[in-house]
Amino acid sequence: MIETPEFQGTHLWNRLSWAKENLEMYRSEYCVVYEDSMDECAKVLHPDPNWMACALQGGILPPVSSYWELKKDEAKPDFVKHTRGPELLHNMKPIGPMTEEEAIEYLIMKDVPESVWREWDKGNQPKMVICKKEQLPPTREWRNAWKIDPELKVAA
């Protein structure tokens, strides 16, 4: 396995370019199904295979809290452009290698609405499920009616 260079202080985009050149894509068998509106069908998040390679390799990605901080900055009414990119993305110590399961959890906290993952198991039925892609319906027929099975048992 190739060793990750010491990347703290290196622009994140340059790290991604290094990863693209040096790491094999990793196609996860997992996806994340979630519902953030009762009036809409279920949404399905698919991890990017190049991003998964970075997550499993370690030493490339910033902590997920960096993205939360950027989101807070962008939500401010006087936001024009990010000024904390170097602090939060490029100079922050990169996190170490993750397992596939940890990578999916990181991705959920990065790319799924917080209102979903903070209270995914609250309420009468789960709002979010991690499943294998083979568990999705095999065709796109009735795609706009996909919902999480309300009878689904939630693992502790």
Binding site: F7, H11, L12, E40, C41, K43, N50, Y67, H82, R143
Partner: protein, 139 residues
């Protein structure tokens, strides 16, 4: 790690700043960094949505027929005022003659963290070929 030496300056993965080269005609310099695509993705919406290849993307979310949102960046853009271009075949075949003549594609809902992509013909339609290219300033 690849290293480029240019006029005595070393460029590798730790290089910061912009790269400027003499432009066409030799009269002025051109900023190469500004001209780079900062993110790109080739993905399908057919059967199980899947990313064929990409740069600077962490995930895509299949929202409904013909709709992918968000397509999330790993390295955020500095503002939401970046430029994007898209292609959606609006077809289940990806031959260069099998595009859908009535297609109207959408690339929008831009934030610094993500953007959305859709394909529309007489209704929203899944495409086997979806290409997006993003240019602009990184955070």
């Amino acid at each position: 790690m690849s290293v480029l030496e240019l006029n005595g300056r070393i460029f590798d993965a730790s290089t910061t700043g912009t790269l400027t080269l003499t432009g066409e005609g030799g009269a002025a310099t051109t900023d190469v960094t500004q001209g780079l695509a900062k993110a790109w993705i080739d993905h399908t919406q057919i059967t199980t949505s899947a990313i064929r290849d990409s740069l600077n993307i962490s995930s895509i979310t299949d929202v409904a027929t013909g709709k992918t949102f968000p397509i999330a960046f790993t390295n955020n853009m500095s503002s939401s005022s970046y430029a994007g271009s898209l292609y959606a075949s609006a077809n289940t075949s990806d031959g260069y003659t099998t595009f859908n003549n009535q297609l109207a594609g959408g690339l929008g809902s831009k934030t610094t963290a993500s953007f959305g992509h859709s394909g529309y013909s007489t209704g929203f339609v899944d495409s086997i070929r979806n290409d997006d290219i993003i240019q602009g300033d990184l955070a």
